[in-house]
């Protein structure tokens, strides 16, 4: 069963690496496991391509057009990040910022995190979804504080408390959901929380309860998405954790959290039959985009900068989901994909850039192209891509979002315009001097692993000018599924 292997492999890897995590080949092992997972996912995807959506194990797990591409994306980015982390972590070790023990923790937790993500994506059970989200948090907390510096500890602590509290709200929401579902489906064991079942009877669910439930779920999972003003943990965690962790947090965790929000939005919208949830999402999205953009303006730390940029983009995606309708949903899904690809690649380059300059302060990073053209151009192109410059895919989704917004809700476009403009100015005026200009820093001891960067960027570029048919069909089907 492909689905089980997808879930089992990372867990297995976690156990293995808990043993051999400090071994010389741990990094390779880590990459290998991720690669195996990727292959398993590939089989799963083929299976779905052939057989269409599938349910498994008493309907507890399922793959439909909404989560299939997210699963694929997660596996892919997980793999490339593992590849990237090999030389990166080695350099960190040489610089004496990490030791073997910590590396073991890192590797096993990394796999555990992947496992949690897959569980969250694949489960059909809203309760299990919650459990998986919590697990994902817990597994990353120790990664954020991996360096054991004051800053990293503080970041991890805030991350833990804020997301913990948030997640608790989500649990209450889930309970309310169950409470309502019970009356529609009966409390017979496990079925009451199955999304597919709920979705089929969402018309009969009690609107008021679901309204309340949605608020709790939105605040809960929204905290993990990093929607303003619940976002405060995000920049700290991104800046202080090791770069691969920032990459997967930004590239994957946020997506999965948003996935949870949308799953519940579908139910609630179906039940209360109004645009209330949609409008909530739009407001949250706009607020996040705007605040994110203005936060960007004053950043000094490169990883913090791109952390805030994640907030901004999550805002745009949420906004798009809020608008609803086939095009906006399509755009949102596309944006999820390209954002995680681009953002992770940016974190890869940013990590190496800060290693070359031996600081995360952007004032200290100068003239990357003259030291290592690959890093420099990687960062430049990545930033341009994330700023929505065609022909990169981010532009495609922003194009659809903006045009749809202009048509459906014209009043939102000035705000979007401000957000995008400020974000552009803020990021680009920081990136340009980092990439261009003079520098006398020595090159890195290890050759940086930039293949992932350019693979990601190539994919993003492709999505800008050509979207494969299968992917487009998934997006469309998912957009239908989400409806709104």
């Amino acid at each position: 069963m492909d689905l089980l292997t997808v879930l089992a492999l990372p867990l297995l890897g976690a156990l293995l690496l808990a043993w051999f995590g400090s071994h010389r080949f741990a990094a390779e092992l880590n990459a290998g496991v991720s690669c195996a997972t990727l292959i398993a996912v590939a089989f799963l995807v083929l299976h779905v391509l052939r057989g269409g959506p599938l349910l498994a194990i008493h309907e507890q797990f399922f793959v439909d057009s909404f989560n299939v591409f997210l699963v694929a994306l997660t596996a892919f980015v997980g793999f490339t990040t593992a590849l990237f982390s090999r030389p990166y972590m080695r350099i960190e070790e040489q610089r004496g910022r990490l030791n073997a023990k910590r590396l073991r923790l890192y590797h096993s937790m990394y796999q555990l995190f992947m496992a949690a993500m897959f569980l969250a994506l694949l489960t059909n059970n809203m309760g299990l979804l919650w459990v998986a989200m919590e697990a994902a948090t817990l597994s990353t907390v120790l990664l954020v504080s991996l360096y054991r510096t004051r800053a990293s500890l503080e970041a991890a602590w805030k991350y833990f408390i804020l997301c913990g509290v948030g997640i608790a709200q989500a649990l209450f929401g889930t309970i309310l959901l169950y409470f309502a579902a019970e009356r529609a489906l009966g409390s017979e064991g496990m079925t009451a929380l199955l999304w597919t079942h709920l979705n089929s009877v969402k018309g009969q669910l009690e609107p008021r309860v679901l309204g309340l439930a949605f608020v709790f779920l939105l605040v809960g999972y929204g905290t993990k998405v990093g929607l303003a003003p619940l976002h405060n943990w995000l920049p700290d965690a991104h800046a202080e954790g090791p770069t691969p962790v920032s990459a997967v947090l930004s590239g994957l965790l946020l997506n999965v959290a948003l996935y949870a929000v949308i799953r519940s939005k579908v139910l609630v919208e179906g039940s209360i039959g109004s645009y209330l949830p949609g409008h909530m999402l739009m407001v949250f999205g706009l607020l996040s985009a705007l605040l994110g953009a203005f936060f960007l303006w004053r950043q000094r730390d490169i990883k913090r900068l791109f952390g805030y940029s994640s907030i901004e983009h999550m805002g745009i995606i949420t906004f798009a989901f809020g608008i609803g309708g086939p095009i906006a949903n399509f755009a949102a899904l596309l944006h999820m994909t390209v954002h995680s690809l681009t953002k992770s690649s940016i974190f890869f380059t940013a990590g190496h850039a800060s290693q070359t300059a031996d600081t995360q302060q952007m004032d200290g990073i100068r003239g990357l192209v003259s030291i290592s053209p690959t890093i420099g151009w990687g960062l430049m192109l990545g930033s341009l891509a994330i700023l929505g410059m065609p022909p990169f895919g981010v532009f495609a989704s922003e194009f659809l979002v903006l045009t749809t917004a202009m048509r459906e809700h014209p009043w939102t476009t000035p705000w979007l315009l401000i957000a995008l403009g400020v974000a552009f100015a803020a990021i680009f005026r920081k990136v340009q001097p980092m990439v261009f200009g003079e520098s006398d820093a020595p090159p890195l001891p290890h050759s940086p692993a930039l293949v992932p960067v350019f693979v990601h960027l190539a994919l993003v570029l492709m999505l800008g000018v050509y979207i494969p048919l299968a992917l487009a069909d998934w997006y469309r089907a998912a957009a239908q599924l989400i409806g709104g």
Partner: protein
Amino acid sequence: MLIAPIDRSLTNHCLTLLLLLVAAWIALGLIGLLRPHSVRFVAHVVFPLGSITCLAFGALAALFLVSGHLAEVMTLPLGLPNLPFHIRLDPLSGFFLLLLGLVAAGISTFAAGYFRSGQGTAPGLLCLQYHVFLASMALVVLADDAYFFMVAWETMALSSYFLVTAQHRIPEIRRAGFLYLLMAHMGALCILLSFGVLQGGRWQFTFDTMRGAPLSPFWASAAFLLALIGFGAKAGLVPLHVWLPEAHPAAPSPVSALMSGLMLKTAIYGILRVAFDLLHVRFWWWGVLTLGVGLFSSLFGAIFAAVQTDMKRLLAYSSIENIGIIFTGIGLAILFAACGLPLFAALALTAALVHSLNHSLFKSLLFLATGSVLHATNQRSLGKLGGLIRRMPWVATLALLGTLAIAGLPPLNGFVSEWLLLQSFLFTPQIPHPFLSMLIPLGAALVALTAALAAYVMVKFYGIIFLGQHREPSLVHAHDADWMERIGLAWLALGCVVIGVMPQFALRAAGTVTADLLGRTVNLTSPFWWIAPVTPKQASYSGLVFLAGIAGVLVLAFGMVRILAHGRIRRTAPWDCGYPWQTSRMQDTAEGFGQPVRHMFGTFFRMQRELPTPTDAEPHYRVQVEDRLWRTLYLPIARGVQRLADWIGLLQGGRLAVYLLYSFLTLIALLVFVL
């Protein structure tokens, strides 16, 4: 039409062939990457091939125009699902493609001689960016759906940004590049929103659906205004012009030529496409607005050009002026069209189109000339040049043609378009609107003023660079341009002369466009050597007679003088009212030449001066002229963003309890909301 027998089978495939040539450009760029660090390979192989491609490109476009086909469409298997890339070749795009091909041919030829190996971007990479830039400009003009248009548009901005920052080690150039890309991006967003208004609903981003889409006056106006802002930002309309005088001087000269000569024209194309093709209604106040902005930009550009001391900045401001003139023509055309006077609209539009063509010819010519000067002297400041006509006769002669053309003097091309514009102004009293019919004619006076100021500016430009005595001793070693550069310059100069002497060709090319957009053309019946846009009785002009007349009398007079008198010449020191010892520092400086304009239009500038006092040991005079808009418009915006960012930054106070409070309050608020 012009060429009676044309090979139909060829004209039927214009679009395909054009696309192939675009692909060829990109291929050439990639070839350049094969040997990224070999200047000789890039300069002697890639760029010449590129210029040949450009020639073919222009020829094809011309062929399409004369073939009289209306439109060819095509879709590429790329793009978004349900929205493949649509491509369309119609007279409007054909005209701009012609312009692109002709001018780019000259520039590429020049570039072949120009690019040297320096620090900064490697020549191979430069070559890639250069050809991608060309290709994206062509695609902008060819695109037939909003998405493809935007992709090409932004690719154009991006590639040109990289070209501008080729010398990225210099901080000012980085600043210029940043400002440029920022403005370009904001403009692009406005254009995008304008398309958002124009679109016909789900997945309907093709221009065809937009043409049909019915819009309420409000939304139509919104679309037009957004487009005007967006394209205006690219074209450098005041007050969106600030990036232009920074970016154009920063770039290598062939790139400045491309940007000023061609990229700005894509903005013209865009506004024409939206105003005359996509929008099915036009209101008179759109025209008045465009006209006003255009007139102001042209005057503004001319005045600022007059006080510049850097030769490339001077040309950049003169670009703003010419763009202003073009927009004036467009505004008139919209106004006439809205008032139901299609013939006069056609006249004004013709003027705008022909001026676009002319401007791209002589402006690129002059930018390239400054490039040669730059190579010969490493000087951009007018204060350190002078007397180069004796060191680099080729460049000086060809630049003289460009100077006369851009100064709007007969019998060269610049005069033709300005003459047409004035002609169309003559009919503004017929506008059925009491105030407009009295106010708009005064615009003609402004155009005349601008044209004369342009002449002033160009006398300054040419006189200070090429005439007089060397202001720096080092200039003695200045060398003339090499033969590739000369060919490039000569090609463009030839264009200026031909269009000036036989404007009928340009008018016919523009005629196909106006016929397509407005259903009318100006009077094209007169023979090729003179034009009479409305009726011969009303007004006519013949550049050929001018040239022949002047030349004939010149030769006759020369002959007569030689026959009747003698040709004896004594070389002496200059008589300057008998003032004994002349030095080169006694000539007019650039600042000095700008003085009357500074004096008369002082309100436009923000001036800082250091005047010498009688007791100075070594008296010196410095004047610095700034754009008021920069301090009154842009810096306040930047400061506002900064302040806002500071306030918002306080949200992230670092205290966990406060963060918890945020989420708690959010929770409560939402609960209250759903209650």
